[in-house]
């Protein structure tokens, strides 16, 4: 602290740093602020004054969207799909991770590397056969048709993260419980899961964000507008209102708002999950 105070404001290194950080902050902020403020302008004003504060605040742009059934339907669809994806991922991944962490069996490491393969390739490479499979299963145009592949693709990372955490639960604990007649399943339910809340929150948040933002899978699996999650819905909206940017900007702002709120609430889990998964995955 005293060190920072001792440096004079005219230290060129400090000045350069402040300038550089300021420039990058402007680079990041301007598009975001222009979007938020653009939603408060009329189309005519947007054309002559895209940067500045609105001279006349058009609350109506936002109100129209907030009071439309369409907006809430998109959010609801996204919420349903993401909740399904998170729930199923947490259940299946934690069970598998528990087995890989605590149960020794023949082929364990082979099966784990098999799952790990999932880290290597993008869903896009197999999206056509995936579409045909989902169609043959009768899941086309259903929430599950989107959520199940999302779960499958999130499993590799989730199992790895959870397994590493589960392994840190002292083995003596499991041993003692087993000697006392506790079953593996009870141990999993009453010891492992409660102890693992932080990592479960992290994995859940990451899965949620990925599912919430996903575009390609819903695009391929859903045909009915009524089922569209918001990334699909906003593309349709943009198509309909092609150059009425003031409305589109208001719509964008209102759809990214939940993401930003979630981020502010769960930033610890999001950053932890991304960097933990990245640095050691």
């Amino acid at each position: 602290m005293s060190n920072a105070g001792a440096r004079s404001a005219f230290d060129p290194a400090v000045l350069f740093k402040a300038l550089f950080l300021g420039l990058i902050a402007i680079f990041v902020l301007v598009p975001l602020l222009a979007t938020l403020l653009g939603g408060f302008k009329s189309l005519g004003e947007l054309r002559v004054n895209p940067f500045g504060l609105p001279r006349h605040w058009e609350w109506q742009n936002y109100a129209d969207i907030l009071f439309s059934a369409r907006y809430w339907q998109l959010l609801r669809n996204s919420l349903v799909i993401s909740t399904l994806a998170v729930t199923l991922t947490l259940i299946t991944a934690s069970m598998a991770a528990f087995t890989f962490a605590h149960v020794r069996f023949f082929g364990s490491s082979m099966l784990l590397s098999y799952l790990t393969l999932g880290l290597l390739f993008p869903a896009a490479t197999a999206v056509l056969p995936l579409f045909i499979k989902v169609r043959d299963l009768g899941l086309l145009d259903t929430y599950f048709g989107v959520a199940l592949p999302q779960v499958a693709f999130s499993l590799a990372m989730s199992v790895l993260l959870l397994r590493r955490f589960f392994k840190d639960i002292p083995y003596e604990l499991l041993e003692a419980a087993l000697v006392d007649g506790c079953s593996y399943i009870k141990f999993f339910r009453y010891v492992t899961l409660p102890l693992s809340r932080p990592i479960l929150a992290t994995v859940g948040t990451i899965t949620f964000v990925n599912s919430w933002n996903a575009y390609l899978l819903p695009l391929v699996m859903l045909n009915t507008d009524a089922l569209y999650p918001w990334p699909l819905g906003i593309m349709v909206y943009q198509g309909e209102y092609s150059s009425e940017w003031h409305l589109i900007l208001a719509f964008i702002t209102l759809t990214i708002l939940p993401t930003i709120i979630l981020f502010l609430l769960a930033q610890k889990h999001i950053v932890a999950g991304l960097t933990a998964g990245a640095v050691k995955g």
Partner: protein
């Protein structure tokens, strides 16, 4: 360790264990129950929706098939030939190369510089970290739409700057000369914060005694940075490069709202090329061939990179 093996060594196979089901506790039967209940859901989902489709893509790519009924029109490797003969495919491949180049040459140095600045504690550091990370949290679709406004030739931010100088504003996204450049700028905007966070996490878990030792030995700030800090970051840098390349190969969501791969295929990535040619027209064989090529590139890259650069991690 020894105790662990004694208790959990695989003493039998499923058939032998079955009669002992009544015995509760640390026996094979307890593990057997877990095995048959806990593993299948994950393995089944993974196999059904990840592994099988990759295999099926290889199979379908040998057919001329529109996705209805069963594939019957076997054409061997012709789909691959068709893909490789399409100029737009090579454009898409080149664009993925450009994205990789910009990620490595612009994005990662920027992220590293910012991380070195923001890993130190000063007022506003945490707020700036969060701000720079924000674009990464936004959906690609939202990001793309925001920038299609920024670039809009009539209402956008770029256009109004042009007009301020009295010039006729360009339609950046509608010109084959500038569309890809515009996409590349958005790529940097969106992803540099993620790499910055990786570097900050690494810097914070760094062994500080090494840095202090260098300072005590009389190394300047720059020398410490060049000869101590950066080398200690090499594992993270290698990882960051890995993510940047794998991510660049998969880019799709960002391109769709900006240009849909156009104009004239000038800003297609491999995935948007796959979407435009395989999925929206349901040319399953052709699209699958593109998918298999992309898969081969990703896997070859991942294994080569791991072998060459990440041997000890």
């Amino acid at each position: 360790m020894a105790r662990r093996i004694a208790i959990t060594s695989p003493v039998g196979v499923a058939g032998e264990a079955a009669p002992q089901v009544a015995v509760r506790g640390p026996g094979w039967d307890g593990r057997f129950t877990v095995l048959i209940l806990f593993l299948p859901p994950a393995l089944l989902l993974f196999t059904l929706f990840v592994v099988l489709p990759i295999g099926e893509a290889a199979w379908y790519s040998a057919f001329n098939w529109n996705g209805f009924g069963r594939p019957t029109n076997w054409i061997g490797f012709d789909n691959y030939r068709f893909v490789l003969e399409t100029r737009a495919f090579w454009l898409a491949l080149r664009n993925n190369g450009l994205i990789i180049a910009v990620s490595l040459a612009v994005q990662l140095p920027l992220a590293l510089t910012l991380a070195l600045m923001l890993a130190e504690r000063f007022r506003g550091a945490v707020a700036l970290r969060m701000l720079f990370f924000m674009p990464y949290i936004l959906a690609e679709i939202a990001t793309g739409l925001i920038f299609s406004f920024v670039y809009d030739g009539d209402y956008g931010l770029v256009a109004s700057i042009w007009r301020a100088f009295g010039a006729e504003p360009p339609h950046l996204l509608a010109s084959t000369d500038t569309a890809m450049l515009a996409v590349l700028i958005v790529v940097v905007w969106k992803y540099f914060g993620f790499h910055m966070m990786l570097f900050i996490a690494a810097l914070q878990s760094l062994d500080k005694s090494l840095v202090e030792a260098a300072r005590i030995d009389g190394a300047t700030r720059t020398q410490t940075l060049r000869h101590v800090v950066i080398p200690l970051l090499y594992p993270t840098i290698r990882l960051s490069v890995f993510f940047a390349i794998i991510g660049s190969l998969q880019l799709f969501d960002l391109v769709m709202p900006l240009t849909r791969g156009g104009p004239a295929d000038s800003s297609n990535t491999m995935v948007s090329f796959l979407y435009n040619n395989g999925i929206s027209r349901m040319r399953v064989g052709y699209g699958s061939a593109i998918g298999v090529i992309l898969f081969a590139i990703c896997v070859t890259f991942a294994f080569t990179y791991k072998r060459w650069f990440m041997r000890d991690e």
